[in-house]
Symmetry: C2
Subunit: 617 residues, 2 copies
């Protein structure tokens, strides 16, 4: 954890932009370095660094990004977050408000009405938060503090002892605040102990890269994008960002919201962090401050970034209109189960009773509202509604509520609801749990993927029409491969045929192997899989009784082009290509008939694949 | 425009929720109806309505949603917006600030530093905005006002003359404010004229449905979702929402941001609007007010909505991690151009020099940053990088900048960049324009779709390897359909073959027609199209010299299963199926050889389709 664990990018368009921005704003020399703590006054006023960390853990950094400085008030939102996580928001709100104040950050004034500091971003509020650390001894408190900051930064951090001592020796105004709070019962004291922790928290040494990663942890809703660790609950992040938005920039809140529009926090050492939820964390360091205590170059950099890259929080980036990626009916797209002609015709006729709605992106109120509305519309008169969740990023609480209502509505209308790709998807685990009672009551179902869900739905339609599909086809004359052959031809074939048994799950053919046999399924069902060696293996066809696979063996030098696996216990007939060729001279029509049957079968699969491709467009 | 033009939904989960929410909060009877204007005091304190309008124009409405009331201060953000659109933000900012004030809304205090009202949500600021109407006579101003509100509401609105007169007769405090502003030069006067417009703007009659649509116009970034008309520029919306966020709820800004987290505005008639950018507009009406002037039930309803549906603005809904939908190389997925064995092998070997990156969703800074980073990574050593934009919703300014930089970078590395699906997409018109000079300089290209782009890229790779593909194949022996036939067989066939010419664009075969001929392309190229009668027609194969199409005619009762269209002037050979069958008795091996060739060709297409399906997964 001691070295910076993430790749810092020092090239490419974004870095180039930051470098140029740094160059262009380094001419600004207004303002002055904070001097109310002697140690802070020693900062080099020319120091200047900008860093940006994305929610996927990429860090862009320009300027003197190796320079460590003390975190000062930028620590406050993190202590606030830590207090919420430790004690819950209600307990925290008894100690501190969330209302901005027109007074300076080091004001002694408390909120008369509630007798508590206005918010956790002013010193009084921060001192109240410092007392909320769980540990009870000075050493344990410091350890708790550093562990907490370390989780946000993704590396272990230390304290600048010189600044700490300087703060401690000269922080009399903060002493006054603490004693006033003790007087009004907002802290239990002893004040020196709490102040000690407060001075330490202000003296944690960080770089702009650290701060950018800390900010990006808020942007990523509590997950540190560099280490991958969950540091805060999303609800805590929302609370912290809310207070940063209104109270983070001292007396500059309105103009900041207008110019930059990002929740932010500044500190007297000259640091500013800003958070663009869902996208990135920004950190700037330049010690010269304006009259209210914000870094002058820092504010300018944030303004320009916000303008040049449209980073303002109120610029729309959600895209609810895309939530329904596509919708189609079971007569347009069929499962990969190979069907007989009769079944095929039946599905062409009644397949429209199956509707499929492909959802995509994150499901939150706005997108889920549209999804359930469009689904309910489209599923009018449907018997099965399949909601394809393969492309759903997550389902929030609001979306879960709405989807449960959808299930209820459709069930009442006699339409079964099936969700695909929910099982085994960690991002949808909460959704699955919330659906529990509906699943138990049989009001909805989960299926592994759209292909299986379609197959099951098709089976329902076929069964209703009295076409359940054969359990087995044992006679050669029933096999599609031999359709059109006369009795003598079949008799001639019989000798060349052997029967094979496979267990459920057994691999029957493997891509790349030499192809010498053609198989026909007599009982059970097999899947033809492409890319099955990886997790992304995809079923391109499912073959049942009466239908064949591995026909490419008939062509010279044929190799297996896909894996074939038994879905159930399988009884299959195998016919050696050699034998078949030998028959040719005596009865050429056997071969041409079989060839024609193969062409029909492959063509039908090709048409299916093309329909499917069209549907996926 | 007089009747409400949008379907108002009074059923379904969302409406049910609103109805329940209304029921549950109607027990709240705290607060009192505003009485500082006599007319307002007459409102029925029990009136209660909630409406919600989505960015796609659906309105949910519960309660007494037919009741009209006066808009009061909820008019202020719209006047502010109108002033920005009319005069530009700089001119507006000379008249009004954006800083929240601790003082009440009807405060006389101006910002000492800038000598202007603190913000456009206090009365002083609103009066300054009223003066910024473009019209110069009272009648013209009222017409301008009503036209503006009408655009937001999606129907024409009127003024409540009784309330207007009451406001005008008793609005002495506002007179004081106006005269103070005249005194300090913030308005040019005459005050009574400006106040007249201000009193009128406060007296516009609206329902909660109107207000919800107005709010949803802000949520939809300036486009009225019901009428589809663009009412504001997105930049103006951002500015208005920023001020609503910090100044919209009087002295309640911090707690509101914390509890609800939505830009909002309340008015003394008891109305509140709230905006969730990109998702929805909310309106509540209940006349009883709290001490700072906000509707008590209104605030409670917004709090609950925000909590129950996670509507807070700082809840993440963007999904930058999904921006790269998929990436693959030209050896994994090929164009639908049917290639010879040799070309196919060559592409399997060198196709990895083609990379395809499928982008999806809206492209803004966070998503575009990831897209260009992933593209640059993946295109290392590539000769052609195809960026598939079919699923891109829009490209904002920041994303455009980053993509231009990507083009620059890849060009320097000797990699050509091709964007698909940009041309003809109205949402990407700005992006296309911004790319103009790069297109002219040949640093990047646009192509209609991924299939054509892949084909062109493959041709480049093949040409480099000295395999440009044949211009023509005139001899029967060169045709793939006849591969493996002996000289005598070919001689026997010759008599059954005729030649056909087609113009570029001509339809050669039509799906559903009887199939009697097999075609072989001798010169030029044809496309096999599925669903070509609609705009979504999709090329499933492109067939060039030496290759055949329409082979299904060989099977009994064959119908054409797809359209075939000439891409260029085409010379083709046609062979009647009848003739071919007649040959069979004499030379059965001709038919089996041709069948085997057909099986090879269809299988190869099926494999291609399956690869493609897998890639689209």
């Amino acid at each position: 954890m001691d070295t910076f664990p993430s790749p810092t990018i020092s090239s490419g368009p974004v870095w180039e932009y930051l470098r140029r921005l740094l160059e262009e704003t380094s001419g600004i020399t207004d303002g002055k370095v904070a001097d109310y703590i002697p140690e802070l006054a020693k900062a080099d006023p020319e120091d200047f660094a900008i860093a940006m960390a994305t929610v996927d853990g990429t860090v862009y950094s320009a300027g003197c990004d190796g320079r460590a400085f003390t975190i000062q008030s930028v620590s406050k939102p993190f202590l606030f977050a830590h207090a919420i996580e430790t004690h819950g928001i209600e307990a925290v709100m008894r100690k501190v408000g969330v209302e901005p104040t027109g007074d300076p950050f080091n004001s002694i004034v408390l909120d008369n009405l509630n007798n508590r500091p206005f918010n956790p971003m002013v010193n009084a509020g921060a001192i109240a938060m410092a007392e909320m650390l769980a540990a009870r001894t000075p050493d344990a408190r410091q350890a708790e503090l550093l562990e907490m900051f370390g989780k946000f930064a993704g590396r272990s951090l230390g304290i600048d002892e010189t600044v700490y001592r300087s703060e401690s020796e000269t922080g009399h105004r903060n002493r006054a605040i603490a004693y006033m709070m003790l007087n009004s019962g907002m802290i239990d004291g002893p004040p020196e102990e709490i102040l000690d922790i407060y001075f330490r928290q202000c003296s944690v040494r960080v770089t702009t890269r650290d701060l950018a990663v800390m900010a990006s942890t808020l942007a990523a809703h509590g997950r540190n994008p560099v280490t991958g660790a969950r540091v805060l609950a999303p609800d805590t992040v929302r609370d912290v960002l809310s207070v940063m938005a209104t109270c983070g920039m001292y007396d500059y809140a309105g103009q900041w919201m207008f110019d930059v529009g990002l929740p932010a926090k500044s500190g007297v050492s000259g640091a500013i962090i800003a958070v663009l939820p869902g996208q990135l964390g920004i950190a700037v360091y330049s010690p010269r401050l304006d009259s209210v205590g914000n870094s002058i170059r820092g504010v300018e950099v944030c303004k320009r970034l916000a303008r040049d890259f449209s980073l303002h929080a109120y610029v729309d980036r959600s895209d609810t209109r895309g939530v329904v990626r596509r919708r189609y009916r079971g007569d347009e797209v069929r499962s990969n189960r190979v069907r007989s002609h009769r079944e095929f015709d039946l599905l062409s006729e009644r397949g429209r009773e199956i509707v499929v709605i492909e959802a995509q992106g994150p499901l939150f109120f706005g997108s889920a509202e549209r999804l359930i509305r469009k689904t309910a519309d489209f599923a009018q008169d449907a018997r099965v509604a399949i909601v394809d969740f393969r492309r759903v990023a997550y389902v929030d609480k609001a979306a879960t509520t709405l989807l449960r209502e959808l299930v209820q509505d459709l069930t009442l209308r006699g339409c079964r609801v099936v969700f695909t790709d929910v099982k085994g998807n960690a991002n949808l685990a909460d959704f699955e749990t919330a659906l529990g009672d509906k699943l138990e009551a049989g009001q909805c179902e989960l299926d592994t993927d759209i292909d299986r869900a379609l197959e099951t739905a098709e089976d329902t339609i076929l069964a209703d029409a009295g076409q359940s599909g054969p359990r087995e086809r044992l006679a050669l004359a029933e096999l599609e491969l031999f359709e059109g052959l006369g009795k003598e031809d079949l008799a001639a074939l019989e000798g060349s045929i052997s029967s094979y048994q496979f267990d459920s799950g057994e691999t029957i053919l493997r891509a790349g192997d030499d192809a010498q046999l053609i198989f026909i399924v007599a009982r059970g069902s097999v899947s033809i899989l492409v890319g099955s060696d990886t997790a992304t293996g995809r079923r391109v066809a499912s073959v049942g009784p009466g239908q064949s696979f591995g026909e490419m063996a008939l062509l010279d030098g044929g190799k297996r082009s896909a894996d074939v696996r038994a879905d159930t216990p399988v009884l299959a007939y195998g016919i050696a290509v050699e034998e078949l060729r030998r028959l040719f001279d005596a009865s050429p029509q056997i071969l041409t008939t079989i060839y024609a049957n193969i062409i029909r079968s492959i063509s039908s699969r090709l048409r299916n694949a093309n329909d499917h491709l069209r549907a996926l467009q």
